[in-house]
């Protein structure tokens, strides 16, 4: 009985911390409409700051607490709102999610830069681990009492804030109708900023409290993923109700503690289960939740994508294959291998193009479906031993199939709900997979078959061999991956131009109107998610094969998030967006960072500078991701638009082509280096539209308006549409227009 009581107290304490984290999440979501994926990362950053203040600078505990909870937390939240989140009104849910994901990544990179992740750090309990009281045979530490008291106090405070105070009521209104609030003389932005500051503070507090009760060791990853635990708790209240969130947090805390206490401690399994439990609970809650009301596109979003015809996709596919081949001639063997790896990432990225770009749904763990494909291919598709080992086509196809089926199973519970829930379900799945499956090195027996999912914690994936085509050769691998990418790209263009593609676009634009045409949304989402997971599976198998050896670290959620973010930055609606996003995720940042590291090794005096630059590249990519709210269509869109206007300036295009050819010949004959070529070619690519514009401006002088010549201009539909647009009338608000809802 005493044991049970002890575990109950421990469970309640854990629940208390979850409730603090979860109420912060619910708070920001309900006042700004943005689900903050970086919530856990903020907790992590604040906790590391606290450690730094108290352990490195030896500040007393109280001063450290005031510094992080009273200053760092609110400042972090307010700054996030002012610099980033404020600009997200009128963007699609996808963009909002990606921006917070970018904040998450940026915070993690920054923390790893400041605090070397290889060093161990601990935080002690408040008043020390020895300070405790014994009640009815149950020992309770002071720290645990602090957790409980803090949680109850915060719950009570938030309740009063929301129901009694003017600021709280304004906060509640600011997501539903900011314009109405403004008309009534309130400032919705101030309310939103206040809630971000408060939410961030709660995150930091939860972080500082949770580390000592979960062992004391600071693990940046674990703290960052606190957002998932908090989310599981918030789900009980459907992300709206604070009291139910509080109850959910307690249920979660107790379940986790009881499981840990009463399940046979069969080594790693229970430990892994403990970490994965919030995600399992999350899935259960998802299944039980009632269906959302169907909604229309209440806010006209700013994202715009052009759809290529199949013919132009085929032409560009051929161009891509030719360019990649020519460029591969310039590269050393290691470069070709890295390039091939990048191309496999681009294939995984295509899975995001179809899912997010075409259908408007999200998958935050594309690499996890790649991992599924890899595991299946490893167990069923490898023939031969050692260096002679090869992957066969059947294995790859089976991997794709299983990835698609698993994708369907993961997505199914969340499909009845809003897109955000699907995003969270995939993230939870990604974390679950890396905790439970990819760490599973024990032997299982199923149906009389003995097998180990992940022997030794890593898998050796040999190159693919299909008939006469052997991909051990780097160039063969690169070209095969490129051809596959091109074929998939053409396939996706065909898909988008088909009736199926139009239905996807319709669903993305207005779920309610699509349902009213007789389309079952669940079925459509399920099918597109399975297609997407299959493509991710294919890309994942190839990626693993390009790596050679893969482990849990290959498929982390951070890797998935970084890939997704880069694809969105490049242009999620475009096949070329997948290409650039994938290449940058796969090779770009890795090459850049390792280059700087190599430089640091070579020039020791400058080493700190070069390491810093390398880290800066990582943080920089995340910063670019945070800016996606300004340009939600992606940079590929801008480049394409710029080139579209160049059509009238043929000489400029020819000149650019000639310059490119000259550069290439110079590089081929070793007159200039590969890097020089790459940079110069990029410069030509970027400068052409600028040059073209100036040429075009000289050519076409501006016409004098007709009315100035004394002629009445006929009133056309175009002019009427423009007038509608200026007035902000519905159906006509376009990119960059005032975000006036219809």
């Amino acid at each position: 009985m005493t044991t049970f009581l002890t575990y109950t107290v421990l469970g309640l304490v854990l629940g208390a911390v979850y409730s603090i984290a979860a109420s912060g999440l619910v708070l920001t979501y309900n006042t700004s409409g943005i689900f903050n994926f970086a919530h856990g990362a903020q907790a992590m950053f604040g906790t590391f700051l606290y450690w730094h203040f108290t352990q490195v600078w030896n500040w007393p505990t109280w001063l450290g607490l005031i510094a992080v909870i009273g200053v760092a937390g609110p400042v972090m939240g307010a700054a996030l709102h002012a610099l980033i989140m404020k600009g997200l009104r009128g963007t699609a849910d996808v963009t909002k999610i990606i921006v917070t994901v970018a904040v998450l990544l940026g915070t993690v990179y920054l923390a790893q830069w400041i605090w070397n992740p290889d060093e161990a750090r601990t935080i002690d309990m408040f008043f020390g681990a020895g300070a405790k009281v014994t009640l009815a045979g149950v020992t309770v530490r002071y720290h645990e009492i602090v957790c409980l008291v803090a949680a109850v106090a915060i719950a009570a405070l938030l309740r009063v804030l929301f129901t009694r105070s003017r600021a709280g009521v304004v906060m509640r209104g600011s997501v539903d109708d900011p314009d109405l609030l403004r008309l009534n003389g309130h400032d919705p932005e101030r309310a939103a900023m206040l809630s971000w500051a408060l939410g961030s503070t709660l995150a930091v507090l939860a972080g500082v409290l949770v580390v000592p009760i979960s062992g004391g060791a600071m693990d940046a990853n674990m703290l960052t993923l606190l957002v998932i635990d908090a989310f599981a708790a918030a789900m009980f209240g459907r992300l709206r109700s604070l009291p139910r969130t509080f109850a959910g947090a307690m249920v979660l805390g107790l379940t986790v503690t009881y499981v840990l206490a009463y399940l046979p401690s069969a080594g790693t399994f229970t430990g892994n289960l403990r970490v994965s439990l919030p995600m399992i609970i999350l899935f259960v809650v998802l299944v039980v939740l009632p269906q959302d009301r169907l909604r229309g596109a209440a806010v006209r979003t700013r994202e715009r994508y052009r759809v290529p015809s199949v013919r132009s996709a085929a032409v560009w596919g051929a161009v891509l294959i030719a360019v990649v081949y020519l460029y591969s001639l310039l590269l050393p063997d290691a470069g070709v291998t890295a390039f091939a790896l990048g191309m496999t990432f681009a294939i995984v990225a295509l899975s995001l193009t179809v899912l997010t770009g075409y259908a408007g749904e999200l998958n935050l763990a594309p690499l996890s479906f790649g991992a599924i494909g890899t595991i299946v291919a490893f167990h069923f598709g490898v023939t031969g031993e050692g260096l002679a080992a090869r992957l066969n086509v059947q294995g790859v196809l089976l991997g794709v199939l299983v990835a698609a089926v698993v994708g369907g199973l993961v997505a199914l519970p969340a499909l009845r709900l809003r897109g955000l829930y699907l995003a969270l379900a995939t993230m939870a799945f990604g974390v679950f997979l890396s905790n439970m499956v990819l760490r599973d090195t024990t032997e299982h027996e199923w149906f009389g078959q003995r097998f180990t999912i992940f022997p030794d914690g890593s898998l050796v994936i040999p190159p693919l061999k299909a008939g006469p085509l052997d991909l051990r050769d780097g160039t063969a691998f690169l070209m095969t991956a490129t051809v596959l990418f091109a074929l998939l790209g053409i396939g996706l263009a065909a898909l988008r131009n088909s009736g199926y593609g139009r239905r996807l676009a319709a669903m993305k634009d207005s779920p309610a109107a699509t349902a009213m045409l007789g389309q079952s949304l669940v079925r459509l989402k399920l099918s597109v998610f399975m297609i997407s997971a299959g493509i991710a599976g294919l890309g994942g198998v190839l990626m693993s094969s390009a790596h050679g050896t893969v482990s849990q670290e290959t498929f982390t959620i951070t890797g998935s998030l970084a890939l997704l973010m880069l694809v969105v930055v490049a242009g999620i609606g475009y096949i070329s967006g997948a290409l650039f996003g994938g290449l940058i995720a796969g090779v770009g940042s890795a090459v850049l960072v390792s280059t700087f590291n190599d430089l640091a090794l070579e020039h020791e005096s400058m080493s700190s500078l070069y390491t810093a630059v390398g880290q800066l590249v990582l943080v920089g990519t995340a910063l670019v991701g945070m800016g996606v709210g300004r340009n939600p269509s992606g940079f590929v869109h801008d480049v394409a638009e710029a080139y579209r206007s160049l059509r009238a300036a043929k000489p400029v295009l020819y000149g650019g082509g000639a310059a490119g050819a000259v550069l290439y010949v110079l590089a081929l004959t070793d007159v200039i280096g590969t890097w020089t070529f790459a940079i110069a070619a990029l410069c030509v690519l970027m400068l052409l539209p600028v040059i073209g514009k100036s040429v075009l401006e000289e050519k076409g002088r501006r016409e004098t308006p007709l009315e100035l010549l004394g002629i009445d201009e006929p009133y056309t539909d175009e002019l009427r549409a423009r007038l509608d647009r200026e007035l902000g009338l519905p159906a006509t608000v376009r990119k960059g227009g005032a975000g006036v809802p219809a």
Partner: protein, 243 residues
């Protein structure tokens, strides 16, 4: 013979009763009007009939079958179509594709075989949209955008068509053409229900009119009866006691 019928529909949002015990009928080949001041519950009624909103109580019957528990998609497949007061066009598609996608859905769900392009052209022709078929739907002026919604709804070959303020934003000529088109559609046997603030249009088009006020049905009848009903006059103009 009524094709669509609601019996005692009540909808509540929290403590507010948006629609209170409303029973209406719509008949084949007839244009029915649903009018009332702002906030009377007209759009909520449409949402309930099409399945976007669950009623607290009451039933919806289509052709004598209870469809209250069916999803919007299933109702649409049984012949229900609507337009939206706040336009819900597919902004990434052209005008033509906005209409065509309805046929895509029909082909995929009903396994119906027909010439999609021909049917799309026919609908565009009938609704007078052929001249702007290739345009981005976001560039279409609001009055014609409403017609695009009607064309899209027609593409599902519906039996019941619910139009939520289709004439708002239209010019006078557009409204005239629109009224002619609706008459033609009703002549083909379509049951049309119109929520509209343009009273002359409603009075001229509809053979039966239902009037909602504060969620309750206060009058039903022919245009003549409605114009003479004291309750309707009170609701629209206000009475001594109300002011």
């Amino acid at each position: 013979m009524s094709l669509l019928e609601t019996r005692g529909i009540t909808v509540r949002f929290g403590g507010n009763t948006a629609v209170d015990d409303v029973s209406l009928t719509m008949a084949e080949g007839e244009i029915t009007g649903l009018i009332g001041p702002n906030g009377a519950g007209k759009t909520t009624m449409f949402n309930t009939v099409t399945g976007l909103q669950r009623p607290a109580s009451g039933r919806v019957l289509l052709d004598g079958t209870d469809i209250t528990s069916l999803s919007p998609a299933k109702r649409a497949r049984r012949g229900m179509a609507r337009t939206f007061q706040r336009l819900e066009l597919f902004l990434s598609l052209s005008v033509r594709d906005n209409v065509r996608v309805a046929g895509d859905v029909l082909r995929a769900t009903a396994r119906k075989r027909f010439d999609l392009d021909e049917e799309t052209d026919r609908i565009l022709e009938r609704t007078g949209l052929t001249d702007i078929a290739g345009r981005d739907v976001s560039d279409v002026p609001i009055g014609r955008a409403r017609v695009v919604e009607v064309a899209r709804a027609l593409m599902t070959s519906p039996r019941v068509l619910l139009l939520d303020e289709p004439a708002s934003g239209q010019t006078e000529q557009e409204t005239e053409r629109f009224a002619e088109m609706l008459k033609g559609l009703a002549g083909d046997g379509l049951a049309i229900c119109l929520v509209e603030h343009d009273l002359p249009l409603v009075m001229g088009l509809c053979s039966r009119i239902h009037v909602l006020d504060y969620g309750s049905l206060i009058a039903s009848g022919t245009p003549q009866e409605i114009q003479e009903s004291p309750e309707v006059i009170a609701a629209y103009i206000g009475t001594e006691e109300a002011t």
